[in-house]
């Protein structure tokens, strides 16, 4: 087991890094240190206006506020479950803001921060976790697929979608989200094979948050995840997932390469799941509190805040206004969630098929008649 741990720590030069859009840079790509110091990278840069920088901060702070509110709502029995993104805000916002109109994202169940950047109404996400539907947003209009809960399945969909983009000759790219645990699934590996074989315009964005529920990364991989890409024949890169600027820069470059016909890239966003896997989970059973303390020093929001303050790009009034916006958002999410109506029972029979079958229509009618038979409203 020790040997295994050691191997995981090895960081070799990125195989496949001679791809035109990627640097010969093996290590963690960073543009903002944990202390909030702006650093340059030989191959990646972002040129953002002051407004854009402040907007990124706003995104990060607001999605965290949303997440806090959702966790509280679950605790109060208003959601069935919640999968927190705490600690992964920069990875998600950076990746999401790298997308353009016309691009398509394929999330797992944790990408609330990406949903935010795509303009998905948070209440539609809340609806899924409340159990009123499986996600009420329009995946086509938002360019943000519905959440996929079966680990890894969406990577194949993203690849196929990208193959469609390619056939259409469109100038768009596809962003597939996955976790570190997901990299073990056969389907994820098949996706990478298809993507490579067809040079599909898809970017695999892996948030390595170090855990798959309780299982640490070392059980999924003996090499750094970004190195996996080499075996499939496309570049892999590791970015500091808590550095929103670096994530934005790296993801933009990879998406642009995909649009230009250079095929897939695998991005490993090195981050940490600061909360439980979901509200049903108890991480004290499998990891030390000290680990979390260490990662708190690399908090994705604190470092951008430090940078903005120190460089005079934002003052206390700005941060106060973001906090106020956060409280307003949280209040809207809270009241909106409480107002989400339970769907009618008959809705489960609708949309099962594009063309309703006589059998199911009959079942629906029986269902209605059965419930109507409880006259006086014993049943609802």
């Amino acid at each position: 087991m020790t040997a295994l741990r050691e191997t995981t720590e090895v960081v070799d030069p990125v195989p496949g890094a001679d791809a035109p859009h990627l640097p010969q840079q093996p290590d963690l790509i960073q543009l903002l240190t944990p202390e909030g110091e702006r650093v340059e990278h030989p191959d990646y840069s972002v040129d953002l206006s002051e407004d854009e920088l402040r907007d990124l901060y706003r995104d990060l702070a607001l999605v965290r506020r949303w997440d806090v509110e959702a966790t509280a709502l679950q605790r109060q029995g208003e959601l069935g479950i919640w999968a927190s993104l705490l600690g992964q805000e920069a990875a998600q916002v950076g990746a999401g803001r790298a997308l353009r109109d016309g691009d398509m994202a394929f999330p797992t169940y944790r990408e609330h921060g990406v949903a935010w950047t795509r303009g998905v109404d948070p209440l539609h996400v809340m609806g899924l976790f409340r159990g009123v539907d499986n996600g009420g947003w329009d995946p086509v209009a938002t360019g943000f697929n519905l959440y996929t809960i079966v680990i890894g399945a969406q990577c194949l969909h993203a690849t196929g979608y990208a193959m469609g983009v390619q056939r259409d000759g469109a100038e768009s790219a596809v962003l597939a989200f996955l976790g570190d645990g997901a990299t073990s699934q056969g389907e994820v590996n098949e996706a990478m094979i298809f993507a490579a074989s067809f040079a599909a315009p898809v970017v695999f964005f892996c948030q390595n948050n170090q855990y798959a529920i309780s299982v640490p990364l070392e059980r999924q991989s003996r090499v750094p995840l970004y190195q996996r890409a080499a075996g499939f024949g496309f570049p892999g890169v590791r970015v500091d997932g808590n550095d929103v600027l670096a994530v934005l820069a790296v993801t933009r470059a990879a998406l642009q390469a995909a649009r230009e016909g250079q095929g897939p890239t695998f991005i490993e966003a090195f981050t940490y799941r600061m909360g439980a896997h979901t509200t049903s989970d108890d991480p004290t059973r499998y990891r030390l509190a000290s680990e979390l303390e260490e990662w708190k020093l690399r908090d994705p929001i604190a470092r951008l805040k430090a940078y903005l303050s120190r460089s005079g790009l934002a003052d206390q009034a700005f941060f106060d206004s973001v906090d106020a916006d956060g409280d307003e958002l949280a209040a809207r999410i809270r009241s909106g969630t409480l107002e989400l109506a339970d769907p009618p029972g008959t809705s489960m029979f609708d949309h099962v098929y594009a063309e309703q079958t006589p059998e199911l229509a009959a079942q629906r009618a029986e269902f209605e008649a059965y419930h109507a038979s409880f006259e006086g409203g014993v049943e609802r």
């Binding site: 159990g131 645990g181 769907p343 809705s347 489960m348 079942q363 269902f367």
Partner: protein
């Protein structure tokens, strides 16, 4: 004699522990079953006591779990695989159907596949998609697999041990929403064979069949029916494949009426097979067609609708009424 009051979850945990003590070849494999003890804590404490080579936290890959279990079984081990939730068995479906189920026949009996596939199944826990499925018919339809479903702590404790000791592959279905139900378990006296159904409440008017989580529902219905002067006989099928229908035939010959209850969709579910067999065997005793109560032919709905999807006491009684009304 030693009797403890156990939940279904704890009974499974103790049964697994005893099976591991009895046979050093028993290996537990699954996602999060080690340090965490499984998301339902069914394997709680086992890795600590038996080591991480006997309670294996696997990579996140169900095809990998089942496929390597096949190899381990070929090598003389007895893998007990935990699938975290029913809806996540499908990446392993290929291995289960094309390999696990067929290797004994393919090898003309030279290779046994003593694999147990533990699956928490069924709904009622307010979960998101894929966490509430009832996939038993897929497996029961596959020759070479045996399928059992436990409904109570006694069967959980003994059944898991019997399944592990059995030479054939068994899909072992655990009623997840009943994991916390308690009953006294005599840990010395094995209650009878694994592949046998059991009358759990005697009655004369209608025979009600159920397995897994629906046994409790059927018993509640029988209780309610008794208040209205109707006497339901409830049979816990316990084994879904092979079916043990002799006690059912015996019962239906007395009652003349039969209702089958399961959470899985009615169409091509276990109820369809049972209705056919009961009709073939008890045709002249039947006063009414065999009726089925089950899930609708829709995807398992979002949790706010699951109460309307799942068979409950009222729907069982409704079927009883219809049966009596014939």
């Amino acid at each position: 004699m030693s009797t403890d009051t156990l939940t279904i979850g704890k009974a499974l945990n103790l049964g697994l522990r005893r099976a591991m003590e009895d046979d050093a070849k028993v290996v537990l494999m699954g996602e999060d079953i080690g340090k965490l003890g499984g998301v339902f804590r069914i394997t709680d404490g086992l890795q600590k006591d038996f080591g991480d080579d006997r309670v294996v936290d696997t990579p996140l890959a169900e095809a990998g779990i089942l496929g390597t279990a096949v190899g381990l079984a070929m090598r003389g081990y007895r893998p007990v695989c935990e699938i975290q939730f029913d809806g996540f068995v499908f990446p392993a479906y290929n291995q289960i159907v094309t390999q696990v189920a067929k290797i004994h026949a393919r090898s003309k009996g030279k290779m046994a596949m003593p694999i147990v596939i533990r699956i928490p199944f069924g709904g009622g826990i307010g979960a998101v998609e894929h966490h509430s499925e009832s996939p038993e018919a897929y497996f029961a339809h596959t020759a070479g697999l045996k399928v059992v479903a436990v409904s109570n702590p006694v069967d959980a404790y003994w059944g898991i041990q019997q399944a592990i000791a059995h030479p054939d592959p068994i899909v072992f279905l655990e009623p997840k929403r009943r994991y916390w139900e308690k009953a006294p378990v005599d840990t010395d006296a094995m209650p009878g064979p694994l592949f046998a159904s059991r009358v759990v409440r005697g009655g004369d008017d209608v025979t009600v069949l159920a397995y897994g989580p629906m046994v409790k529902t059927a018993l509640q219905a029988a209780e309610a029916a008794a208040e209205e002067g109707r006497s339901l006989e409830v049979i816990d099928l316990r084994t879904v494949s092979p079916l043990d229908l002799d006690p059912v035939y015996e019962s239906v010959r007395r009652t003349g009426r039969c209702v089958v209850v399961h959470e899985a969709p009615v169409t091509l579910g276990l109820g369809a097979e049972i209705a056919a067999r009961v009709t073939e065997t008890c045709f002249h005793s039947l006063e009414a067609p065999v009726l089925r109560v089950g899930g609708y032919d829709t995807p398992y709905p979002p949790s706010k609708l699951e109460e309307e999807y799942l068979p409950d006491l009222d729907r069982v009684l409704d079927a009883v009424d219809r049966s009596m009304g014939f």
